[in-house]
């Protein structure tokens, strides 16, 4: 079970409060977590990563365990603490005005 924290606008879009929990098959990676997240919440498709290229949207960041994982490869394993549910995987809207 992976804990995912979404930014406020995406929580509203997905009609959820607080953390989201998803199960992934096999190794926990950015791709497998986002695949599971989008399967549970189809309205999030295209809001975190491009639907065709699967690339992270430029103003979205991925944090976990006080590290910026945004530039890790999509299939790189997430930290054990995320994979085991100790720490959440944070999807963050990049800091900017507006």
């Amino acid at each position: 079970m992976i804990r995912v924290v979404l930014p406020a606008h995406l929580r509203t879009l997905a009609h959820v409060n607080g953390e989201v929990k998803v199960d992934v098959e096999g190794r926990a990676t950015q791709r497998s977590v986002l695949d599971a997240l989008e399967a549970c919440y189809p309205m999030l498709r295209g809001t975190i990563r491009d639907q065709v290229t699967q690339q992270r949207r430029p103003f979205v960041r991925f944090f976990a365990c006080e590290e910026d994982l945004s530039h890790e490869l999509p299939d790189a394993p997430l930290p054990d603490a995320v994979a085991t549910g100790i720490e959440p995987f944070l999807v963050v809207g990049a800091m900017a005005g507006g």
Binding site: P7, H9, L10, M43, T47, I48, R57, G93, A96, G98
Partner: protein, 371 residues
């Protein structure tokens, strides 16, 4: 009792303003989708409870929302806009070629007869259509496949397909307008397209009378006379009497003929409205006065409509999709400003009142006349 529902898209959410037919007391709900840019909302002419909204964000991209209860509740539907076939290139601001890239949906135009069919005008300019209530979207690639497409270029706001007009008298006829390419018409339901820019003159492009490259800001027609089109171009207010085959200028006595919106009275096909802006580099009202100009002669002869509108220290703009009319009698006219005001006239423009004064910057205004 009949009434009206005004759908307002702003930089930070959508608002729904409703009134009975007197159009004096307004109920305001919103913000819906707070914090997101709402480029456009529009209702199906075939089902007044079916609404579509374009919701977008620099952070989280494009979402399409649909309501089946007149805007009380919404559900996110499909947001996958993938260009058909070879992507191709268009001109960029610096004159180089650049591949088409989806940015956002500027305009949603529901079918006149089928609530589940809706067209989307997008940036970079292309026309998409959904036949399943917005769940899936397919490009009508004949438009972007036109041989002139590599020469299209963005206006300051991006290369957007911002106007879609469905001709009620000629099934299969669609007009679109693109900044900065111009007007195109299809007579076969969007399969093939022809540029409709003869008579336009734009000093801002190398060949002022080129077939494409004109920054058309908005076109409008009256459903009873769809062969007559009106246009607010970057500069110039134009008119066509032959379904876009040719255009002539009808700016007449306007104080400036730069502007964005143009619309037609619901019951008088020769009564049209514009909001002149000072210039292309000064996107605000001339002399600090908010004046709607009305022509009752299909152009050339214009009168300033000022009663109820600020006549000093007002420097807002009215964007291209931010004016609409209802079909009550007398005709109601509505527009929203970049300063967040939405003004209504229940007497065809003779006098105006603000429905609301302090919304976020208004991007679009549409009106439904409810039974």
């Amino acid at each position: 009792m009949s009434g009206v529902r005004v759908l307002v898209g702003t930089r930070k959410g959508a608002f729904v303003l409703t009134s009975d037919a007197n159009r004096k007391q307004w109920d305001i709900t919103g913000p819906h989708f707070g914090g997101w840019e709402i480029y456009h909302l529009k209702a199906s002419p075939a089902d007044p409870n079916r609404l579509y909204a374009s919701q977008s964000s620099s952070w989280f991209g494009q979402v399409i929302q649909r309501s089946n209860d007149g805007g009380k509740t919404w559900e996110a539907v499909g947001n996958k806009f993938v260009y058909e076939g070879v992507i191709g290139t268009h001109l960029w601001y610096d004159g180089t070629s650049r591949p088409w890239e989806f940015a956002r949906v500027w305009h949603l135009e529901p079918s006149l007869t089928d609530p589940d069919m809706v067209y989307a005008g997008i940036q970079d300019a292309a026309l998409f259509r959904s036949v399943d209530g917005g769940q899936t979207w397919q490009e009508l690639p004949g438009l972007r496949g036109h041989k002139s497409a590599p020469l299209w270029q963005p206006g300051a706001g991006g290369m957007c397909l911002h106007t879609i007009l469905l001709d009620p008298s000629h099934p299969g006829r669609i007009f679109v307008a693109i900044s900065a390419a111009g007007v195109f018409r299809s007579d076969d339901d969007g399969q093939t397209w022809r540029p409709m820019n003869r008579g336009l003159r734009s000093e801002q492009i190398p060949d002022p009378t080129a077939e494409v490259g004109h920054c058309v800001h908005r076109i409008a027609l009256h459903p009873s006379r769809p062969d007559v089109l009106f246009m607010q171009k970057h500069w110039d207010v134009m008119r066509s009497d032959d379904a876009g085959e040719s255009w002539r200028e009808v700016s007449g006595n306007l104080p400036t003929d730069f502007g964005f919106p143009i619309d037609v009275h619901a019951h008088e096909p020769d009564t049209i409205y514009v909001v002149p802006i000072k210039s292309d580099s000064e996107h605000y009202l001339p002399e600090g006065k908010l004046r709607v100009y009305r022509s009752r002669t299909g152009g050339n002869e214009w009168e300033a409509l000022t009663r109820g509108l600020p006549q000093r220290d007002c420097y807002v703009n009215v964007l291209r999709d931010a004016m609409a009319v209802d079909s009550l009698d007398p005709c109601g006219v509505y527009f929203g400003t970049t300063g967040g005001q939405v003004y209504a006239s229940a007497d065809a423009g003779d006098s105006w009142v603000p429905i609301v004064r302090d919304l976020p910057s208004v991007v679009s205004v549409e009106v439904q006349t409810l039974p």
